[in-house]
Symmetry: C2
Subunit: 274 residues, 2 copies
Amino acid sequence: MSIAYFEGEFRPLTSVSIPVTDMALQRGVGVFDSLRTLGGKPLALGLHLDRLQLSLRDAGISEPVSRQEMEAVIREGIARMGEETSIRIYVTGGDRYEEGNFPAPRWFALFEPIHRLDRSATTQGVTLWPLPHERPLPLLKSINYMAAFVEKGLHPESFEVLYCPAGEITEATSSNAFMVIDGKILTAPLERVLSGVTRTFVLETAREAGYRVEERCPKVDELSRAAEFFITGSVKEIVPVVKVGTTRIGDGAPGPVTRHLIQLLSASLDRRVD
Amino acid sequence: MSIAYFEGEFRPLTSVSIPVTDMALQRGVGVFDSLRTLGGKPLALGLHLDRLQLSLRDAGISEPVSRQEMEAVIREGIARMGEETSIRIYVTGGDRYEEGNFPAPRWFALFEPIHRLDRSATTQGVTLWPLPHERPLPLLKSINYMAAFVEKGLHPESFEVLYCPAGEITEATSSNAFMVIDGKILTAPLERVLSGVTRTFVLETAREAGYRVEERCPKVDELSRAAEFFITGSVKEIVPVVKVGTTRIGDGAPGPVTRHLIQLLSASLDRRVD
């Protein structure tokens, strides 16, 4: 069963509610972070809590509890689940907005059994739909995903959308994006996108394996001559992309660099648990 | 006292909650509309319900109840309030996302005493802070306002933000935007912005009064030679803007066209009640 922690208690996930006075409901003010367990232990919990704290700071939302208290809740939730778990931690804007700050946030954590991706995504690759703008507040993980959902609805063949402001590829709906071109791996720099935890692991892994890596935005007009393309996320790990909009990537199948990185990442994950 | 309607009942507003399973909380999926009463009657209720229906259609969210039922709830809420009322109608994404659609939305309506603007906003004019991108999903009224709140927090002197993608002025946080320049009133066309109910009234009123009106985006680089600038909304009506970022508009005080339109709009509003 899925459970949630809210206001000091663990409860069945479907029994937890948030007041309509909360700015999260009225104006989409909220941040979150998402991680999972591996062998019953949280994967990169420290990095995810670091990132949540940065999202809160940049959003002007106060920290609802200490980091230690939040970490203890996460560990207890994982223990109560007793199986591989997906964890999402939300902090809402709460009911007050004062001088640019949200001083009275609410927070809750959701614990659910992991839904792993359909393996066909990894073996066959997926399609992304390009949008001509960037993700709202791209340096933090806000809950403002509605544009991505609506656009995906218009392009149901797409796995996620791909944000491409002014022809520069930044990130996908909830993934970092990587292009392999001219023997190099390109991905948007941290001044432009969310600091993905799996992005960090993939860049480390790729450099260790001797790949050349450049942190600059890949361009939409480079897609037609890109050899490979892939996206990364904490639950999805690495997913090959074989089409962006109507443009086929490489020969339309997951390429050797992507497959190699999938292997290397998978082999290194168990040393990332905290 | 403020009240809310949810799941068939009117209750104190602070006692209504929405489950954390709802996509509105998890991913900011929701639309709303906002109107007010004048003399105890809803102002342009028909136009607001039309617009809510368009927002729902464009978002792929099903209509939660019939328009007749929603209208009856609004009228009953107003009667229960017994004073001039601000009404906000929210429809959330609900718990399900299927093939681009949200087939099981929730909805609630909030009824609160009207908070009229501090009169100094109208008499002295306000400052807007320009952003280099557009509002998420600009043709519908989604709840994804977080970027505007965060940016306003960084520029606390600003009344709202002003969306200016690629140097073109589209709209403000929750207002339509108008520039008076070279004897003409400019405002973004409906292909680019939300169809503001007060925008419609102001354009009608301006044309009837003999002003020249052009529906095209005013440009950021026209600000320095604009004579006047103002924004409109259903509760704020018309608010003069005297500064955008660091650029003073005209002589830095509300101008004659804006003051004339404020007068004309105010005099015409009582024939807009339904």
